[in-house]
Every structure is written in structure tokens, then in C-alpha cells.
């Protein structure tokens, strides 16, 4: 076996109920190699990283790391650390109430001769690391008091405090960083490389990848596409590899002429999330929203639905300006919202399908606070048949349904209130192809009935294939609204290029993804 190789990923597969997230990935990474991992949202990058770091167990295949000539497979996250594997995740992931030094040495405190933790020594050594990374802060500063960009730098610099490092994973490390900090990060990566440490680098910013990486692996829909030296490729080539594919038939649904205006947003803003957003939704229309991670699409919808408060601008529904104070308000005004993460805020997982379907409309089937159980069951049965929710009974716990059926339960829940405006935020995440097609059919039926649908998706073929018009967002603003005709002439690369336009006036770093 070649001694040069540090990490072997062989035939790795990972399945969740109803989805195959990884479909047989094989690749080898050498010592001192900086490997980029690219692909669209949902291509399987994060899942692969979690598998490598031992956070997720594999369904098939193996992942091994070369530990001084021995091949070891990390069994869990702690094991991975012991083998010298470190990951820097997208979201700042450190103890916010501790100081920088405390975070650097978390769990491996240095003790002095008397067996007491030697804070002086640790603070001194931490300060050296901080100075090396040019962060200009005190080692004793609390993480919570630092700006987000500095917090991100602390998590990056924390890696260098470890003694035995073999592999470092960076997941979108520059998302929160300014240019000078990116330079420092790159210097650190080159230093790791010289020490023979392998780096896996995930980023949406292709220029960066061409700048810092040696090789690049492209993933698509959970499958391995190819690995190439960076010197052989350019940005255009990578984009075409990531997205280039014929529009599939499942996106071919009937479209209907746009009717009267249903909802209009006029210059709405939420500080640190998005600014001056304007768009209109008409009856019978599918209005798509696209943007890269952190563009603020979901934030806009959460604000319209009354989850966060709009500070500037106004929303009009059917021509009348409205003030929506809570989700309940929004529902009463005829808005239904399918959220991005159904497990977090869409479903009561440990309750029955029947309760979940009726969850937001009990007021419609009750009198004096007493529910008609017959109506409750009847509604659940009705939707089970109409949108084909596959479940042995309406008393089944939702946590036991597959992803696609769970999503249909959420849709049924919205439909119970018969809303005019439906917001679907990533409706096909973690949903298999069959259910995807059915969800698109539901969307088609809704527009035929003259309802307006807002469709957010990070998956370009989907949002381009289904939308009548497409709003493209970047950094909390609308950068373009593309009408049907223009959209049909555009390629996915064109849209991606518009979405990755980085404006001069950056919002503050608090943009949540």
C-alpha cells in the first residue's frame, strides 16, 4: 500500500429512511494534499464529512486513516479526534461563555507540578497562537464578546493548538470572514500542508478553491463525479460539472396564467437579515426564490409569517396593507408556511399523523374548545387519500413515516386551513424522487385552484424548472427578478453567477444561514 496516502474512502454509502444521501464514494487523499470538495446544496458534502469524522455511521463501504502505517477507522467523533482528525464546521461551534484560552485547551488542560491547572502557562501559550493568527485580542476575552468573524477565527486557530494533526476539514470557513482574515487562513492551510497534513476544503467560492487547493472532487446528488488537479480546471468547468444536467421530466408541470395580485412586499427589512425586499405574488403563480447559503431567503419568509418582526416597509395582502404579528395572525390572513426543517418546526414527531395534520386548525373543528374527534379523523383520512400519505393508520407516529410522507403531512397541515398563499421552503429536502414528483403535482393543483405559491429551493433545476418567475437573492437583497421568458433562455450557470454576485455593501456578519 502506498505510504503516501493518508485517507481512504472506499465505496461509501449512507442512507436515511427514504433517501440515499451517498451513493458509493471512492477517493484517496495524500499527505499534504489540499482537497476541495464541491457540489450543490444537498449533493452530500456535509454527509460525507460527517461520515469521515465518525459522526455518522456508514451504511456501506469503509473510511480509513493512515496512522503511522496502520489503517484505522474512526468509530465515533472522539475516536476521530484521537486519530488526529479535526473538523471546522460551518457554524461557529465553541463554548461561548469561556475565554479563548479556555476553549483552546478545553478537555486537555495543562497541569503544573502540583497537579493544579496551570492557567498562566495556558494563557501565555494561547496568546502566542492568537498573535500568530493576528487576531489582536486578549487570550482571556470571552468568546461571546467577540464579533462573529473573530469567533470563526478562534475556531480555526483552535485546530493549531492540537499536537497530533493528520487531517483537517474546513466546511465553508470563509463564509463569515473578511479578506484579510481569509489571507491568514490560507497561510495556515499552507503551513499545515508543509507539515504533511491533509486538508479537505469545502466552499461555494470557486475562486478560493482554485487559489488554495491542489485537487478538487465534485459530488452530485450524493454520487461521485470526478477528481481533478486544480491546475486543469477553471470556474466555468467546475460549475458545469456541479449542475450541468438536462432538465428532468418531473419538473414539467402545467402552468396557469397569473391572476390578481395576492401578496406584495414593499421594501421590507429585518436588521442583520435582509434589506429592502420587494416582490409580488399573483394568483396561480409559482414565484421561485434562489440564493446561496446565507442569502436570507428563509429569513424573509419567516418575517412575512410573523415569526420575526419587520422593522421597515410593509406587506400587502390582496391590496390591503397588513401587520402580521404572529404565525397565528399570518394563518388567519391565509398564509401557509412549510418550513425548511420539518423536524425542527414543522412536525410534532412523537405525535400521531392525525394530530399533526390537524395541529394548526383545531379552532376550525372545535366548539367551545371541544374538538370533534370524528372531524379530526375524517380530515386526516381525507388528506391521506387525496395527497397519498402512505401510513398504516392515521394513528401512526409521524417519526415513523418516511421523509416524503412526513413532508406530505406538513402540506396536509397547511391545506387544512385552505390558505391562498403557500410558502414552500425547501419542500423536497430529504425526500425521494417519487415523493418529489407527487409534491410537484400538489403544487400544480394548488396553482390551478388560483392559489399563489412561493417556492424556495437551493436546488437550481427544481427552482428553475417549476417557477413562473424567479427572485434571486444575495446577501439579504434582491439582485434580480427573472421573468418566465428570460428564465427559459438561461442556464443554471447563469443563475448561479447572478446569485454569487457579491455586492460592495455587505450586511453585517450576523447573516444567518
Amino acid at each position: 500500500m502506498n505510504d503516501d496516502i493518508l485517507l481512504r474512502v472506499e465505496g461509501v454509502e449512507k442512507s436515511y429512511p427514504g433517501v440515499r444521501a451517498l451513493k458509493g464514494i471512492t477517493t484517496f487523499i495524500r499527505k499534504g494534499e489540499v482537497r476541495a470538495l464541491i457540489g450543490e446544496n444537498g449533493a452530500g458534502k456535509s454527509t460525507l464529512i460527517k461520515c469521515i469524522m465518525g459522526v455518522e455511521t456508514l451504511s456501506k463501504g469503509k473510511i480509513e486513516i493512515n496512522v503511522d502505517g496502520r489503517w484505522c477507522a474512526p468509530r465515533n467523533a472522539i475516536d476521530a479526534k484521537r486519530l488526529g482528525m479535526y473538523a471546522n464546521y460551518q457554524h461557529v461551534n465553541i463554548a461561548k461563555d469561556l475565554s479563548i484560552a479556555e476553549n483552546y485547551y478545553l478537555g486537555r488542560w495543562v497541569k503544573n507540578r502540583c497537579g493544579v491547572i496551570d492557567w498562566n502557562l495556558m494563557n501565555r501559550q494561547s496568546q502566542q497562537v492568537i498573535d500568530k493568527f493576528q487576531l489582536h485580542v486578549d487570550a482571556k476575552a470571552k468568546i461571546r464578546d467577540l464579533p462573529v468573524a473573530l469567533q470563526a477565527m478562534v475556531t480555526i486557530s483552535k485546530i493549531s493548538v492540537n499536537e497530533k494533526i493528520r487531517l483537517v476539514v474546513f466546511d465553508e470557513p470563509t463564509a463569515l470572514l473578511e479578506n484579510d482574515k481569509v489571507e491568514i487562513l490560507f497561510r495556515f492551510i499552507r503551513e499545515l500542508k508543509q507539515q504533511g497534513i491533509a486538508v479537505i476544503y469545502i466552499s461555494h467560492r470557486l475562486e478560493e478553491i482554485i487559489d488554495i487547493c491542489d485537487t478538487v472532487t465534485v459530488l452530485k446528488d450524493g454520487a461521485y463525479v470526478e477528481t481533478r488537479p486544480v491546475c486543469d480546471v477553471d470556474k466555468e468547468y467546475l460549475i458545469s460539472k456541479m449542475v450541468g444536467r438536462p432538465m428532468e421530466d418531473i419538473y414539467r408541470i402545467s402552468h396557469y396564467p397569473a391572476g390578481a395580485g395576492l401578496m406584495r412586499a414593499e421594501g421590507i427589512s429585518v436588521p442583520n437579515q435582509f434589506e429592502n425586499m420587494s416582490f409580488a405574488l399573483h394568483a396561480g403563480e409559482i414565484l421561485g426564490f434562489f440564493g446561496l447559503v446565507g442569502a436570507g431567503r428563509s429569513e424573509v419568509m419567516r418575517a412575512i409569517f410573523g415569526v420575526t418582526r419587520i422593522t421597515k416597509g410593509q406587506v400587502c395582502i390582496k391590496g390591503k396593507p397588513v401587520k402580521i404579528r404572529s404565525p397565528k395572525d399570518a394563518m388567519k390572513r391565509g398564509i401557509g408556511f412549510l418550513t425548511e426543517d420539518r423536524r425542527l418546526d414543522g412536525l410534532a414527531l412523537e405525535q400521531t399523523m392525525r394530530i399533526n395534520v390537524n395541529m394548526n386548525s383545531y379552532d376550525m373543528i372545535s366548539k367551545w374548545g371541544i374538538i370533534s374527534l370524528a372531524r379530526e379523523n375524517q380530515r386526516a383520512e381525507e388528506h391521506r387519500k387525496r395527497i397519498r400519505i402512505v401510513t398504516p393508520s392515521t394513528q401512526q407516529l409521524v417519526s415513523r413515516l418516511s421523509g416524503g410522507n412526513q413532508q406530505k403531512v406538513v402540506i396536509a397541515k397547511l391545506l387544512c386551513r385552505q390558505p391562498d398563499i403557500l410558502i414552500f421552503d425547501e419542500p423536497t429536502v430529504g425526500v425521494d424522487v417519487g415523493a418529489k414528483e407527487e409534491i410537484f403535482q400538489i403544487i400544480q393543483n394548488l396553482t390551478r385552484q388560483g392559489k399563489g405559491v412561493i417556492l424556495i429551493s437551493s436546488y437550481l433545476p427544481e427552482v428553475m424548472g417549476l417557477s413562473d418567475r424567479l427572485v434571486v437573492m444575495a446577501e439579504g437583497r434582491v439582485v434580480d427578478t427573472i421573468g418566465k421568458e428570460r428564465l427559459e433562455r438561461m442556464t443554471e450557470e447563469d443563475v448561479l453567477r447572478i446569485a454569487s454576485m457579491t455586492g460592495q455593501s455587505k450586511l453585517s456578519t450576523g447573516v444567518a444561514s
Binding site: P17, G18, F305, V307, S326, P327, K328, M331, F337, T339, L344, D345, G346, L347, A348, L349, E350, Q351, T352, I355, N358, M359, N360, Y362, D363, S366, G369, I370, I371, L373, V390, T391, P392, S393, Q395, Q396, L397, S399, R400, S402, G404, N405, K413, D432, G434, A435
Partner: protein, 325 residues
């Protein structure tokens, strides 16, 4: 095509089934204990002892039902024993010191319970204090107030008719147990048929889910802690009638038994699940263990250890069930 092949089998393991399983196993344990005690001791099966068990269960039982409601939302109410104790005192003071008629003394007691419950909700919701801490604080406040109001002594002089209620019975069933059963039936129906019942189930399954489904978390919190406060004071009223006086320690330590009864009955401490029938059986089991210990002449100190062990076991089993999912 989207269903999993095993879903047919899984149907049998749905929530209802799990709860039923809990209830059936509780019934079995109770039966076994009952048989052991009837065969092993002379006095267990006497009418006196059996009514005594029911009377003891009634007070804890009413508290446990309220506790189950709170636990379903993912909260907990440590102040329950103290609220009951406060209501006991209010009954005694109203009747003996302030000279109020019986019906008015009950209103005073219920009002006190409601206020305590709403205060808990206020601290928990408005200041985002963990329920455990908020209600622990309320408990201490109330225990102090009880001593202030009673000068640390026993308040006697309770209306004779009112005290006779506790000694009366309907057929074989003591009045206190009748009240307990009525509360249980009401509690079970409310949980099953009301929008309030559904709201607390959804809230207990996830705060964000509830909020985005248009359920007002504030309203639900005030309702559930207020409702619990009312039920605690009903337990306090029963206690006043039974003891024929109010002592400063009335209701002390009831919280642990009540929580244990809820959890034994299938309530999940992380919220989203709970059963009134289960709570009923859980209460019986706890009281039964205590009673049987006494019958067999186990000394009370050891019995405390046993009860503690049962409680810890119940909570551990609750966690294990979750892990199995």
C-alpha cells in the same frame, strides 16, 4: 413506494399501544403486590386498611393528575405540595379564624391555588426561567408564607360538617376517592377532547412547532400552570377535611410521589406524552408500596429508601424507552 417495507409491523407499536402497555404492566405489578400483601399479612385486606389506602391515594392522586398535565408540556411543578398545603391552611383559617362559611372557604382556597399557579406561569414564561427552578422558588416562598400565616403552629377548629366529608363514603368508596375519580375522569376527557389538551401535547413535542402552528405558548403556559394550581388546591381541600386541621407541614414531600406517579403512568419528562389512567395506577402503586412496607413491619426509614428507588427506577425506565426509539 415511499413506505418502508416494515411499516405494517410498526403500526402495532404506535403511541397508544405503548401507553396501554405501560398501563397493563402497572396493573400487573399492582395485582402481584396486592396478592403478596393479602396472603402475607393479616391486616392488609381489612376494610379499614383498604379505605385508608384509597384515602391516602386521593390527595396524591389529584396532585399527580395536575402534575401529568404540566409534565406533558415539558415542564414540571415542584411547588405542588406547598400549594396544596397553602390551600389546606386557607380552608382552616377561613373557617376557624375568619369565620367564613364553608363554601366561601373553598373559594378562598381555590383562589389561592390559582394565584400560585399563575405566578409560576408568570415567572416561567415572562422571564424564561426553567420550570424546575421557578417552582422550587415558589415552593420555598409558600412554605415561608404558610409559617407566617399560621405562626408556625397548627390551625384547628375546622367546621365539623366539612371534616365529616372525609369520613363519609359512597358505598365502599370513600368520598375523598370519589373526588379523586371525578377529577381523573374530567382530566382524561379534557386531555382527549379539548383543544387545550392538544395544545399541551404539541407544545411538549416542540416549542417551535407549537409556535409556527399558531398555538400561543403564553396562553398555554398560563392555562396549564393555572389549571394545575387549581387542582393542587382541590387536593389541599381534601387534605384539610381529612386531617381536620392545618399543619405547617401539610403536603410536604408530596411533589416527589406525584411526579413519580406521573412518570410511572407513562408521562415523559421531556414532554409530549402522558396518560391520566396511567397516573391513576401510578399513584395507587406508590401508595401501595408504602402501605405494604408498613404491613410487613419494614421500618419507615428503610421504606423511604425503597420509595426513592422506585422513583429513580421509573425515571430511568422513561429514559431507556426514549433511547430505544
Amino acid at each position: 413506494m415511499t413506505s418502508q417495507p416494515a411499516s405494517g409491523n410498526q403500526a402495532r407499536f404506535n403511541a397508544r399501544h405503548l401507553l396501554k402497555q405501560t398501563e397493563i404492566s402497572l396493573l400487573m405489578v399492582i395485582t402481584v403486590l396486592f396478592l403478596i400483601a393479602s396472603l402475607g399479612t393479616a391486616n392488609f385486606i381489612s376494610a379499614y386498611n383498604l379505605t385508608n389506602i384509597l384515602k391516602q391515594s386521593a390527595v396524591i392522586g389529584v396532585i399527580a393528575i395536575a402534575q401529568t398535565y404540566v409534565i406533558i408540556t415539558g415542564g414540571i411543578d415542584i411547588s405542588c405540595g406547598a400549594v396544596a398545603g397553602m390551600s389546606t391552611l386557607m380552608v382552616a383559617l377561613s373557617q376557624a379564624v375568619w369565620g367564613l362559611p364553608v363554601w366561601l372557604s373553598l373559594v378562598v382556597a381555590l383562589a389561592a391555588g390559582l394565584i400560585c399557579g399563575l405566578f409560576n406561569a408568570f415567572v416561567i414564561h415572562e422571564f424564561n426561567v426553567p420550570p424546575m427552578i421557578a417552582t422550587l422558588g415558589t415552593q420555598t416562598i409558600l412554605r415561608g408564607l404558610i409559617k407566617v400565616f399560621s405562626n408556625g403552629g397548627t390551625v384547628s377548629g375546622i367546621n365539623k360538617g366539612f371534616a365529616a366529608f372525609a369520613t363519609g363514603s359512597v358505598g365502599f368508596v370513600p368520598n375523598l376517592a370519589v373526588v379523586w375519580l371525578l377529577v381523573a375522569v374530567f382530566g382524561a376527557l379534557l386531555l382527549k377532547y379539548s383543544t387545550f389538551g392538544r395544545s399541551i401535547l404539541v407544545l411538549g413535542s416542540g416549542r417551535e412547532v407549537a409556535r409556527l402552528s399558531g398555538i400561543s405558548i403564553r396562553r398555554t403556559n398560563y392555562l396549564v400552570y393555572g389549571f394545575a394550581g387549581l387542582l393542587f388546591s382541590i387536593a389541599g381541600i381534601l387534605l384539610a377535611s381529612r386531617m381536620n386541621c392545618a399543619t405547617p407541614t401539610a403536603g410536604m414531600g408530596y411533589e416527589m410521589n406525584a411526579i413519580a406517579a406521573s412518570v410511572l403512568g407513562g408521562a415523559s419528562l421531556s414532554g409530549g406524552a402522558g396518560s391520566i389512567v396511567g397516573t391513576l395506577l401510578g399513584t395507587l402503586l406508590i401508595i401501595l408500596i408504602d402501605n405494604i412496607g408498613i404491613q410487613f413491619g419494614v421500618d419507615p426509614f428503610t421504606m423511604e429508601v425503597v420509595t426513592g428507588l422506585v422513583i429513580v427506577t421509573a425515571v430511568v425506565v422513561d429514559q431507556l424507552k426514549k433511547r430505544a426509539k
